[in-house]
């Protein structure tokens, strides 16, 4: 399943790159793209575990950039 989420207060381009790198390491994520300019995250992950993966992604984002929120 592929879904796109808006990101709020993503203020640093390098953080976006770090977030992308961290999320791509989550098991079950096929592809992820965090666009600093569009303030969007597109995530392609396994259907049956999608919600868990998303939760994990939110956690990782909070660790890297606490100001930034993923709007689910």
């Amino acid at each position: 399943m592929k879904k796109t989420f808006p990101l709020e207060d993503l203020d640093c381009a390098n953080c976006a790159a770090k977030m992308e790198h961290a999320i791509s390491k989550i098991d079950g994520v096929n592809e992820v793209s965090v666009s600093f300019l569009m303030q969007r995250m597109t995530i392609d992950a396994d259907d049956d575990r999608f919600d868990d993966i998303l939760k994990e992604a939110v956690k990782k984002c909070r660790r890297i950039e606490p100001d930034c929120k993923i709007k689910l």
Partner: protein, 640 residues
Amino acid sequence: MNAKQKKELLRIAVCLAAFLVLLITDKCIDGGLAGAAGGKYGWLLPFGLFLSVYLAIGYDVLWRALRGVLRGQMLDENFLMCIATLGAFALAIYTGVTTGHPEGFDEACAVLLFYQVGEFFQDYATGRSRRSISELMDIRPDSAHVLRCGETVTVEPSEVAVGERIAVNPGEKVPLDGVVVKGSSSLDTRALTGESLPREVTEGDRVVSGSVNVTSRLEISVEKAFYDSTVSKILDLVEHAASQKSKAENFITKFARWYTPMVVTAAILLAVIPGAVTGDWMDWVYRALSFLVVSCPCTLVISVPLSFFAGIGAASAAGVLVKGSNYLEKFDKADIFVFDKTGTLTKGNFAVVKVTPERDRERILALAASAERDSSHPIARSIAAAYGGTPKEGYVLTNIAGEGISANKEGSEVLVGNEKLMRRHLIDFLPEEGAGTVVYVAENGKFLGSLLVADEPRPESRDVVASLNAMGCRTVMLTGDNERIAKSVAADAGVTEYKASLLPQDKVAEVERALSSKKPNDVLCFVGDGINDAPVLMRSDIGIAMGGVGSDAAIEASDIVLMRDDLKGIPVAKRIARKTMRVVYENIWFSLIVKVAILILSAVGLAGMWLAVFGDVGVAVIAILNAMRVNSKRRQERAI
């Protein structure tokens, strides 16, 4: 500028002013502020003053750094900035305590101040280019007025079903694709196609969502649900454009992952080893702190996607949708352009220009139209248009690919097609010599006559092909037409090569062959009208579809969509791609060289923290300004 940015700007301005006052006073007074205060603890006066400015400008950086450390993000830019500036403060206190004349409070303060200026500028610049894309997003309709049971109900566009009737008032956006059933008006499609002339529509005309109704009320019968409509497709495409990352972007993010740890390691080594050897800790720690100032790769990480973003924005303003920065990057290198003839180099509006023999016109047209009844091919449509009447029913139609159609009814057989079909059925036909597509008609093995169908070349084809040739590209035309027509159209358009008499499947094979025989660095573009060439559009390195508005297949299968039904978008997009890539490489090289130069200069002690922060922020500002140049108004006018 939004409220947050205004507040930030005010804070920077106030802090900068306070800082300058402090700095000038400190330099003007004999012995500095420390001297003015006098005594052993004189250094506390400048320390306190500079520290308050430091805290005013940098409290958020300090807070983020602290939070980052607690979460295990040691190499966070905020943290590194804090280490560098707090380190400089520590050194200044050290000199203050030992000599009574502190040096470096101003420096520590300035570093953070300029860091914030740089951050502010980045924020402002990215906000601006984000807005240029949001303008495109402006095509999203907010509501639709549906006529239900004689009443007008205003609902979300997604709640409208196919077949319902909607009303669009002047000044509103058309929310869904459909056909005008009542009223006539002019539509502004600029946001969709970049076309500035309004389009006149009246009853029976098809309208696309996202265009703005200008003059009067329209009633539209909805043909597509919202998620299927043009506006959703385009928005989807634009939103995804930024997720297709180019090689340059990937290189930069990978580089950034290594860059920061490397610089930090180098800084530690620089502080420890020479410090231990020479014993001059002050100097070497200071040099190491300067390293940390340039350790943030943000300039690079932001300027490269920003350039691509600006390039995609500039292209969409010219009516060319590029589906991702990787395509823009590739398109710059595009040097083989394969054109489909019909509908691409030519207008595709075929018309029967000649019927031979003229006295049998009605009969020949009637038979041909009956045989071609089910075909949506432009040639078949032109025959139906020339005939005008209702085609006869009851024929069993057999399509013979690349040859024509055989129609059978009650033992009589009508053959409608090209000369191959005639030869295969051993029909003695009279060849038609005019330039165009010839359709021969035979009944029960007897030749009846022929139709000459001709197509007009697009007025811009010649110029477009000429400018591509001038850029050093190979231009190839593929067509199903015979050698003679192909030759005349090819000469007319000025393409360097052409391949004639291709069956639809031959086109794919031809593109495959071209793909396998090209050099690894060549990039092959296929330009088609999106009608039945989706496989070729997908197979080629870059698929370019014409007339994107209203053609879903084209939007989906291609990588670049010419929203306006005009080939001129190709050289325009190519120039934008070239400009974008030049800016991208300029930014990469410029930032790298300046950063490395600062690192070397601070390592040997020639550059202080002042120069480091100026260099770092300066590079960011210049790279961002350079990126914005791609999308500047003046350049767009020149491109169009």
